[in-house]
């Protein structure tokens, strides 16, 4: 009998958002496990703990996890951003299930210069001590507070069943350039009177005569199928991250843009040149003026735009598809030899 790896994946699956975030990283990672034929069982922590007034649901949640582990007996427990559990809860689980591999992935920035750095670091550290392996969306070598022998880089994954657009097949699209932001995907809307550096940056672009499709700036943030609908109408996208450049860090925006066939503009200094070639797979920029000029140029050169965008999508799937990323995660967790090693794999 073939031994199938059993994974208990505890992460937010956004069920309470009624499909608004069906393309979240957690969902794509979960799909990756299934596509690899792992036996994956999912607990959506935040859905379970919805309306958790005075934290009264917490004991039920711990007991639910506990019973699920006993019934399922996984080889791996993989945590997403499970912020509702505290140190004592993780200690309890780790102590009770010593033979199960504990792991976490953390997709928010750990940039020391980011204004919420301490909060993010504490959230990451909450599980870090008790996890055998950790996965982050930046290069672990960029941080002086992370051990590289148990923490590994994973890219923002794309998914063949979600990232289905091929905008490079269309020369005439309604909009030239796409950018979307929100003040937190759970909130969905924008905070009143709050403007962050992304808005400032976008407003400084000189995009006269171009048809822009910006959300979270002029229009409200867009979600769910509407997000993909708007994406499908646009030729190019901007991947802009807040804070100081950090090796390999990006928000999951990068996957949504490149993997759906938009010509994507990436900030320099994030070392994505290690994976994507300038003017072959993506376009790199270093300032507002540089970006404005490049957007204008490619808006008028559809042939070039389509060629680069198509290369970008193919390469993104070759390198960062959820199937290979989740296989890598499981191999790292179980300390298996990495087969079919890709350039980003450690």
């Amino acid at each position: 009998m073939k031994k199938i790896v059993k994974i208990l994946h505890i992460a937010d699956m956004h069920n309470r958002h009624k499909g608004r975030l069906f393309y979240s990283s957690g969902k794509k990672i979960n799909n990756g496990f299934i596509k690899n034929d792992y036996n994956v069982l999912q607990i959506s922590d935040r859905d379970f703990l919805q309306s958790n007034i005075f934290n009264y649901k917490k004991p039920f949640f711990i007991s639910y996890i506990d019973k699920t582990i006993q019934n399922f007996l996984p080889d791996i427990i993989l945590f997403g951003h499970v912020d509702a559990l505290n140190e004592d809860d993780f200690f309890y689980l780790r102590n009770k299930y010593k033979n199960i591999k504990f792991s976490q992935y953390f997709v928010d920035t750990l940039d020391p210069n980011f204004h919420q750095h301490e909060r993010h670091k504490n959230r990451f550290f909450l599980k870090y001590q008790f996890c055998d392996t950790n996965f982050i969306t930046s290069n672990p070598g960029a941080f002086n507070f992370i051990d590289q022998d148990k923490t590994f880089f994973i890219p923002n994954v794309c998914d063949r069943s979600i990232d289905v657009l091929e905008n490079y097949n269309f020369k005439n699209l309604k909009y030239d350039i796409f950018f979307a932001l929100s003040h937190g995907q759970h909130r969905g809307g924008l905070k009143k009177g709050y403007i962050d550096e992304r808005t400032v940056f976008i407003n400084q672009l000189n995009l006269e005569d171009l048809k822009v499709n910006f959300f979270g700036i002029e229009k409200k943030p867009v979600w769910g199928n509407n997000f993909f609908n708007e994406l499908s109408k646009t030729k190019m996208g901007i991947n802009y991250n807040r804070g100081q450049p950090l090796k390999y860090y990006s928000s999951d925006r990068i996957a949504l843009l490149i993997a759906n066939g938009l010509l994507t503009f990436l900030q320099k200094k994030y070392s994505y040149e290690d994976f994507f070639e300038d003017k072959q797979d993506v376009i790199y920029f270093d300032s507002e003026n540089d970006l404005s000029d490049k957007i204008k140029y490619y808006s008028k050169n559809d042939k070039e735009r389509c060629r680069i965008a198509k290369n970008g999508k193919i390469k993104y799937f070759n390198l960062f598809e959820n199937v290979s990323v989740t296989k890598y995660m499981v191999d790292k967790i179980l300390d298996n030899k990495i087969s079919n090693k890709l350039s980003w794999m450690n």
Binding site: E87, F91, R94, N95, K98, F125, Y128, Q129, F130, N144, F145, I146, D147, Q148, D149
Partner: protein, 346 residues
Amino acid sequence: MDELETLIFRTDRIGDFIISFPFIKSYKDNFSKTTITLVSSEYNSHFVKKFKFISKTIPLQGNFNLIPKIIILIKMIIFLRKKKYNHIIILDGKMRSFLISLFLKSKNKSILLQSKKIKLLSKFFNYKIVLNTEIQSQTKNFSFLANQLGFKINNKNPNIYKDENLNNKFLFERKFIILHLDEKWYSKLYYSDFTDINPSAKEIDSFIKKINTILNNDFDIVLTSGSRKIDNLTNYTSSFKKINDFVFKKDINNRTITYLHNITFEDLALIVSNSSLIICCEGAISHLSNNFNVPTLALYEKKRFQHTKFWTGHMKKIKLFERKNMHDLLLDKNLVYDIRDLINQS
């Protein structure tokens, strides 16, 4: 200038210091401008003093009686309060170290907690806390504390004697293994609830002959011990020829058995560093053998397996073998396999 001084509490035994060594050394390497003062136990202070990266060692007297204990603490507080420290790190997690540190002047205080008793207090006084939990190897907890303090332990298994010139006063011409027969073999001299191995003089002789047989008479055997007198060992070695105050010899089946009596820890380190295999009860000597990467068979107490793994989880060349009465140990075939397996690694 004083504010660049870091005060570290490690007031226990040599094994505790050795396992803390990578942490303290990496701390110094990462914060090179800081000077390190180490509050050690009286027992350890001589050993710690020889490490040049530790600027100063202050021995903390031990006393079992309450009044003298309090007087010692007060004296220590008065002495240490003369300075202001940049950081105070309590690695031993002991209540007395915590109490002393409470009265000292420092902006940053951290504690590796062994007991939850002082968790609340240390939280209240704003200490950075890492739980030194036994559910995983202690070195992992050290790594996490390092990460919390903003550095990485790069070399997790450094040779503590790298910069030392170990005086080669015991010359062994042939390959040898060490049988370390200290008080840990006798539960009446160690923990009374431990399985008593209790080798008699005759059984020590049988054990040595058995080891010789397992190793095809290819190795000489060096017998070492701790500071406590062991009558059975004294009886066994009474027929040995005295070479000098420390060295006693006897030949069995063309192999030399050397008993080293009353040697220092440095002498033991030297001998361990040149040996091919160590057979011992788990303790400071297994930390030494790990330091020199020498294969080790360590006898451990089954009911304290988690505790043993806590201490030895990071050791690459150790085989743990369950404690048994010497009579059973002599009949155990697995012991034969394990010794053969280990000698092949040397």
